[in-house]
Amino acid sequence: MMDAGRHPRIKMLTYSEIEEVTGYVGNFKARIRKKAKYVNENECTACGECAKICPVVVPNEFQMGLSTRKAIHIPFPQAVPSAYILDMDNCLGNNPIACGKCDDVCDKKCIDYDMQDEIININVGAVVVATGMDVYDPTALDDYGYTRFENVITSMEFERLICSEGPTQGHFIRPTDHKTPKTIGFIQCVGSRTQDPERGNPYCSNICCMNTVKDSLLLKDHYPDIEVKVFYMDIRAFGKGFEDLFMRSKEAGVMYIRGIPGEIEQDPKSNNLKLMVENTTTRQLEEHDLDMVVLSVGVIPRKDQEVVKKLFSLSSTSDGFLMESHPKLKPVDAPTGGVFFAGCAEFPKDVKDSVTQASAAAARAGTLLSAGKIKIEAITAVVDEEKCKLCGICVRVCPFNAIIFDKATKQPAHVIEASCKGCGTCSAECTFDAITMQHFTDRQMYAQIEAILSDKPMEKIVTFACNWCSYAGADLAGLSRLQFPANARIIRTMCSGRVKDKFVLHAFKLGAPIVLVSGCHFADCHYIDANRWTQKRVWKLWDKLEKMGVRPERLQLEWVSAAEGQKWSKVMKACEELRQQVTEEEVQQTIKTLKQEEEKKSSRAKKQPAPA
């Protein structure tokens, strides 16, 4: 951090928040609010006179509330810039009659009670999101008694207690009697690896095992006599050198007991803790008396992550962390062009992995910026300005905010090609057919549907499959030699969002017995949330079909991922079964109804006077 602060080409804006981001890859405009620190950070020499005289004492957030700080303070010893900051919520200095002591003692006169937030507008080419994570709060796990028993602490609090710059100057003591504990227990997987939403998250938090191994070694280094017990279900020492550290910890005499304790009880007199645990390796129920228990807490997505997600139109995976563009091939790229991830914002990871990802993100951003130009996919949307009726639907549905349209200026919608990823949702939603998806144009789609249904339409299943998941899933089914009916005719689209309601109706009009629309699972969509629009469109179509007297079951909607060859084969078999139930008369009736609808529509259009 110091190095970054000193670097001539890195500008660091601390205590600042991004308020708004507009633009697209290479041309982002960010509005940043640099919050008032009430101390001139360039003049402050961090002499500390102000903090000595400040009369306001509040809990120190950095020390997990285990010690105190003044209203004027440095957040933590290595903070950059090394300057004091005034916490205005607690300061008395708003009214100089009340206090103003820090201003009196400051030789350089750098305290300014009237300092205002500063708005900075900057243009940037690429963005790296490294917003980090939060730590799981184990208060909800009542059986561990965190906050009920003072001697039950979290691994974060442990970190402060053993740190030489911590509240105890590194003397490890327990909160109730300020004595060094003789026995200490660590409980693993607190708030991680659970299917019960009230007990935490389903994923493994990745860092807590090695953190505990490290903590146990720290304790054994400082206090060789201390008895350390680790209650775990699996120790995941998967990284380079991790197994060595785990072995060292075992050699140092740390007891690893495989079994998760049930409940912690406290002795009201001595404040010692007691827990029951089954040692699953010996199958014995053991009772352990401990002076102190450390809960090895997991990691959760930041609580304010929604703000970041909205700023850059990002999405998150089911675990709540930010979703990458591709889990294997583009692990540092966000789905939005020009945005990259580093660190725990993407998923919990240790220091080494964070540095690796940060380096990759910097390199990805560097590649983008140094070229000055970017190659974009040829598959983009183009607006026919004459047909555009300024309704604004395309702007609303675009997952990448790639369409600009200003109602006030009455300019037709315009696609920013650099941001457009080519899902085709805008084209599918446009009621005036004003948007052409290049390489997946309406004409091409109709031609494919017509070709499929030109011969023996009753035997065909018209299938729309998205390029990334369902088409690949069908491919996998084929490669895995899975059996499924061969009468499906697949039309590839980039995203299921491209499937216009008119395509489906056109297929029915030409005598299709069954139409299947298939896309990626939710949160798996390669175009952020374009398949949500597919779902809405199909729901609407079902309503419409029902009103027209067509069985809605004849339009199927399925989510099949690239790994689900089995599911694809199952879906195809189900569709084939449905197809066999469709009769010739039913199809003829549908064709008749659809033709009547069309006639009604065209006669209505003729009656209406042409717009002036």
């Binding site: 690896r193 935490g200 998760i260 049930g262 409940e263 089954e278 699953t280 199958r283």
Partner: protein
């Protein structure tokens, strides 16, 4: 050495019973044993071990009249504590149902179900109960509709 083989047949049978399907999620952390009051007082009762045997598909030791599953007190502590939503108590209840299907119930359970079928109550009614209720000002208990119960039990 005994042959090491997972009995999938038994697991599939268990999966079809309500509550039994949850046994698949168990990762053997042992927190059910740590919280179990029955395990504290009985050396051989161990819910984790029962789950392990279901995972391995070994019904021989579980499905019998003197199996350890009958020592479960149905307190639901393990249900509350289990991080994987395995619901050990419900798996045990499912195992007991398999015992009933196979007709290997312990004699006291057999007697108990007979009592319910005959009287419609889990506790046998005596004149003392109604006298005590009258003293406490509670209405007299009437005989439960046995004909309805018969249909239910069928």
């Amino acid at each position: 050495m005994t042959e090491k083989k997972v009995g999938f047949e038994f697991r599939e049978r268990l999966n079809k019973i309500v509550g039994g399907n949850h046994h698949n999620y168990c990762y053997q952390c042992g927190s059910c044993v740590a919280i179990c009051p029955a395990a504290r007082f009985s050396d051989d009762f161990n819910p984790r071990d029962i789950l392990l045997k279901t995972l391995l598909g070994k019904p021989e030791e579980l499905i019998s009249a003197d199996s350890i599953i009958w020592k479960c007190t149905n307190c639901y502590s393990c249900y509350e504590r289990c991080p994987q939503d395995v619901r050990p108590v419900e798996v045990i209840i499912a195992l007991k149902n398999i015992c009933a299907e196979d007709g290997v119930l312990p004699p006291n359970v057999d007697k108990f179900s007979d009592t319910i079928a005959k009287s419609g109550r889990s506790v046998v009614m005596t004149s003392t109960v109604n006298r005590r209720r009258a003293e406490l000002g509670l209405p007299e208990l009437k005989d439960p509709p046995l004909n309805e119960l018969e249909i239910l039990l069928e």
